[in-house]
Symmetry: C2
Subunit: 700 residues, 2 copies
């Protein structure tokens, strides 16, 4: 157990604001605690002598040895109560009271003060605006919900209190148990990262489930979850995924919408299994709590019904699992043991007249096959088959082989008892075989997470001073937008750029062209922080022969002046012209997310990112393997890898550019946005041809 | 009712092979019929005097006035029984017996004979290898399944008998009823198209559901379903979608795998709602049977719980529905009536202390809003709320407004009675709000289907004789592969091609270049059915100036001879060189699907179809609106529509090309495959630059 051990394992809980008023929250909590809790309950209420048979104390400051204070007093006196608790040495406070950050500016300032008090006394505070907490191991129900949870190995946190009551009611009906349950409330002090860490250290928690509308400290959450998810699966619904949902979340809890793409990247990097529906949350949670992790991806389907077997096979095809190929020995055994009409290949169809013995034998043979890593038992109701007996047989096989199994008993009331037997043994059961396969696929996904190697991001030897100087120079010009005049930033961070120079005179232009072009044609671009779309105003000239460089210089400057007389013109960039044979234009960019900090993008240039939205993201810093993965994740990756008879580009140079850019934006919080577009990738390396960035001068 | 009226509404049913042997199929069917059926049951079995209290007849040919004969005799005598039935004037036969097409060559030939007998006597035959049929309106259960279905307005066909027993068992547990149920078996005579037509004409069937592993006659099914789905929704799981699934389906029922893309296109063109899971099949079926079709896409969410409200909003964001924008009047009313803490915008959060009255009032206000086309009622368990009372209120509102509603009562046993009330009123209920929204989205999808205008494909005035002549010329050369030498096919069908000529001498080449190039450079290509990748061997020259045409001719021929000395060289094509400014390369192609006939593809050329698989398909013939839709369906469509500052191409010319090509492949079954690649699309029209086709000479 971690730092929150006494929060979840108190010996003595005080209810501050305990009352016996019918329908009140204070009564509900006191009654829930009295009903089951293994420890002592203390009532605090200066206006009462006794509540539900408990003698009432006037103040929580007067009561000795309280481990957790549950606070249900009116908002105006919550802070006094907490101070009192703090002075009395109480470490854990659960604030049920609402009227804080979720309700206007007065509430928000009250919440800030609460945070300060918690800091002062080093308190663990749950809430405010929480339904409370549960620990089934002690039968602790410090919530005002209508039901206590049943014991289990899933710990569950929710940013919605109503969702907690709903889930507990629903789960009790399905014999699905929990270890700890927390209604996070406004997360003024303790947030998702704290509970992920706590439950990651808790041997009684096998799976962590969460319903979240935001993440308070994105980078801290990634750190915490990354560590925990090596051993303990974390499954999360992060709502507000869609534009409509995000705005609903904002009005619900005031959750600041970090970008969805940041959440997507961050939760993935953190090893969190992200799901989109309540059904998946509990399907995945249940199987992760009940079944072992498979060693491989091969699934055996054993069924008494061909059609549903085909549907199940489709579901395997939709997943990242595969149909196990049986060994010859397995097939021979099936041929011997099964009727002629049976299908001895996977999916194994033992046909409709199969009694339970045939089912058990077939499952036995399938599970013994070394290519079988998981199994779906799929049964339709038939006269010779008893679902109850089948359930017992499946539980026996599960015990014998330790191979993950999901069951699909396709029937209604006839399956009830069998489903209970299977659920009690941790084997999930469904009517729809697609759900069984999805659940097994969640085990596979968790296997890959638990086996991930997290490589530390590399730190390259860079010229940080020069970069600082370039940014400061821009700041001195009092601009937030930089263009090619900041190519030096890339040079300073070791990102290859074509030979170039910025000039502010005709003669210099000609000299620069000689230097960078070496007699070949060059590219020339107007340099101005005020002109965003240089091509549109004729501010770019490509393939300028040496003898036209001077005139082109004049042209570019004249056009820019005509187009925007008040624009600051820093000069003209004269750049080496790259050989574009076998070259692919890519984009590497970054922007800053309010929750997760700098986010790095990779994609192909032109239409690919801009129209097809074929891009991938990571929260910085990006490690080498992670940058490699990014390249493989875009749909257009084959274009980099030698599609259509071209030479493949040098991927390792792209990978290094991603890493170096990630280092740059981590080093300089002043860089709000930065795009290298295009980063030209060729078989012999990369070159950053253009750059554009926005800075925040206050961060310099 | 249609042609199958007496199959489903018999007055007298004979069981041929009736028996009282325990555990036998013959006994099960006889007992099922005797249990409930409103009509008369006759037993036929020459070896018995009496079966389950019925006097036994020796032969079905002896029994007068039989409407349906259910056949459960051994396979070897099935055909004799059917002939006997046919001679006796019996119109409908349900063949339960297995051992036909699904079991080896003997069975397959028996099935062919069955088809011939059915033809001879004009019989409606269900099966063979069928579980039987049901019609709950007469309590007719002519199956050997363990349970009879409950009455309802869904008619259900299944290519898996086991799936029928599973579904009936499961549905009975959920009070989900059916009108007719058919286990299709091997579909030797009656198939999915027949039942779709029949149920489309049946006023007692509101929704048609199907589980299919293949479609017997693809084009007939599209015709039948297209007509029926204007008034009656058809929802289908077509399994064998994935490679693994298709091979499992083949081994299960011998279903020939038509291509998945053909099924996808065809089911869509037929107006079938295709689903991928059993859960969706019945979720969609239930709501389509129980709720009206919404007029628009605006959904109101009314909830007592903010968090689940956000999740529901996300689900709306995932769907093609939208959150309804309330009118000012609605918002003002909510402001007046709801507590201060409530959210008066959509999703409406009436907060946790809401009693049923507040829920009902809020729903009333929301449903009265003209922008609200559908509603989700979303409730978490709270002390002041009774789910039962809420259910009653929702049913009342549903009656009053006739607006489609889906309910999400988030709890376990506490929701049971309320769920029953809602289900009985046709209002679907779920624990997971995402399912409620998906179901409403199915109503929306069906609305668009039912309002579709099916435009007849246009028939263009073409030169069919020339096309025939070109194909025959190729056949005379004894080749199945044609290239640019078949450009005349496109000309004959009015598809624009660049000016070109095929020449077989240097002088002719120069003359042709003068004619097609008019002094400008031309494109030259070797013409040979044996050389597939002309560019790879240097068989294409682009931008050949007039004075180099002669030499280039020699070069191309020499290269081709060196590369493949035995290749038939038909000459060199000299083609006008197109101005590629603002041009986009597209592909229009076709191939022939075993189930659905010619399929037409459209996509962008180069990497788009080949690497990104960004293509769309239609079963031919393709109508004008359908060809228009195809363009909009590809991800890269913005490139045709003026992305990145280009002029948009002429879409109507692409549309016409798709239609004309569709006409060509319908007219000539000999064309197995044909690709126009590239079809260059420009602001001023299209031009087919290259063509490649494969023909089947036997079809000429």
């Amino acid at each position: 157990m971690g730092e929150l051990a006494t929060l979840f394992r108190p010996e003595r809980v005080a209810v501050v604001g305990a009352t016996d008023r019918e329908g009140s929250v204070g009564r509900a909590i006191t009654a829930n605690l009295l009903a089951d809790f293994d420890g002592a309950v203390v009532a605090v209420n200066p206006t009462k002598d006794e509540v539900l048979g408990l003698q009432c104390h006037d103040a929580v400051g007067d009561v000795p040895d309280v481990d957790v204070a549950v606070v249900v007093v009116p908002p105006a006196i919550v802070l006094d109560v907490i101070r009192d608790a703090g002075r009395n040495g109480i470490q854990n406070v659960v604030v049920i009271t609402a009227g804080f950050g979720e309700s206007g500016s007065e509430g928000a300032s009250r919440e800030r003060e609460l945070r300060a008090v918690a800091d002062e006394y080093d308190l663990n505070v749950v809430g405010p605006n929480s339904l409370g907490i549960m620990n089934t191991a002690l039968e602790l129900n410090a919530t005002f919900g209508p039901e206590n949870a049943q014991p289990g190995s899933i710990s569950f946190m929710s940013q919605s209190g109503a969702f907690v009551t709903a889930v507990v009611d629903w789960a009790n009906d399905r014999n699905l148990g929990f270890h700890n349950v927390v209604s996070l409330g406004n997360k003024a002090v303790l947030d998702e990262s704290d509970f992920v860490r706590e439950w990651g250290d808790d041997p009684e928690t096998d799976v962590i489930l969460g319903y979240l509308e935001d993440v308070v400290d994105g980078r801290e959450f990634v750190r915490a979850a990354r560590e925990v998810t090596r051993d303990t699966p974390v499954v999360v619904v992060k709502s507000g995924r869609t534009e409509a949902g995000a705005s609903a979340a904002a009005s619900h809890t005031g959750a600041i919408a970090g970008s969805e793409r940041a959440y997507e990247a961050a939760l993935d990097q953190a090893g969190v299994l992200r799901v989109e529906s309540v059904q998946d949350l509990f399907d995945f949670g249940s199987i992760l709590a009940g079944q072992p992790i498979p060693d491989g991806d091969g699934v055996a389907i054993v069924t008494n019904a061909g059609g549903p077997g085909v549907m199940t096979t489709d579901a395997v095809g939709d997943s990242d699992l595969s149909l196990a190929s049986f060994t010859d020995e397995t097939i021979d055994t099936f041929r011997e043991e099964l009727p002629d009409e049976a299908n001895v290949y996977n999916p194994v169809d033992i046909i409709g007249d199969a009694p339970v013995e045939r089912f058990a034998d077939a499952l036995d043979v399938a599970l013994a096959d070394p290519n079988v890593d998981a199994a779906v038992v799929l049964a339709c109701p038939t006269a010779p088959l008893s679902f109850e007996e089948l359930a017992d047989a499946v539980v026996d096989m599960s015990d014998e082989y330790g191979t993950p199994i999901a069951a699909t008993l396709m029937g209604g009331s006839s399956t009830r008892e069998a489903n209970e037997t299977l659920s009690a043994a941790g084997i999930p059961t469904y009517f729809d075989p697609a759900r069984a396969v999805r659940s097994l696929d969640a085990l596979r996904e968790y296997r890959t997470i638990s086996r991930r190697e997290y490589t530390e991001p590399e730190t390259f030897d860079v010229d940080r001073e020069t970069a600082q100087e370039i940014l400061e120079r821009a700041a001195r010009r009092d601009t937030n937008r930089l263009g090619v005049e900041a190519m030096g930033l890339l040079d300073a961070y070791g990102i290859p750029t074509p030979a170039s120079g910025i000039v502010d005179g005709r003669t210099e232009a000609v000299r620069a062209a000689e230097r960078v072009g070496d007699g070949d044609p060059v590219v020339m671009k107007i340099v101005s922080p005020d002109i965003l779309h240089k091509s549109d105003i004729g501010g770019v000239a490509v393939g300028v022969p040496p003898d036209e460089v001077g005139d082109t210089y004049e042209d570019l400057v004249t056009r820019a002046r005509n187009y925007q007389p008040d624009a600051t013109i820093l000069g003209v960039q004269v750049q080496e012209m790259l050989d574009m044979d076998d070259a692919v234009e890519t984009i590497v960019g970054t922007n800053r997310d309010p929750q997760f900090g700098p986010l790095v993008l990779f994609g192909l240039g032109g239409i690919f990112v801009e129209i097809l939205e074929d891009a991938t993201f990571r929260v910085a810093p990006v490690s080498e393997p992670s940058a490699h993965e990014m390249i493989g994740e875009i749909d257009a990756a084959p274009l980099l890898r030698g599609a259509r008879g071209r030479d493949p580009v040098d991927e390792s140079d792209i990978v290094e550019t991603i890493q170096r850019l990630s280092q740059l934006v981590i080093d300089f919080p002043a860089i709000v946005e930065l795009d290298v577009n295009p980063l030209v990738a060729r078989p012999d390396g990369v070159a950053a041809v253009d750059v554009r960035l926005t800075i925040d001068q206050e961060e310099l």
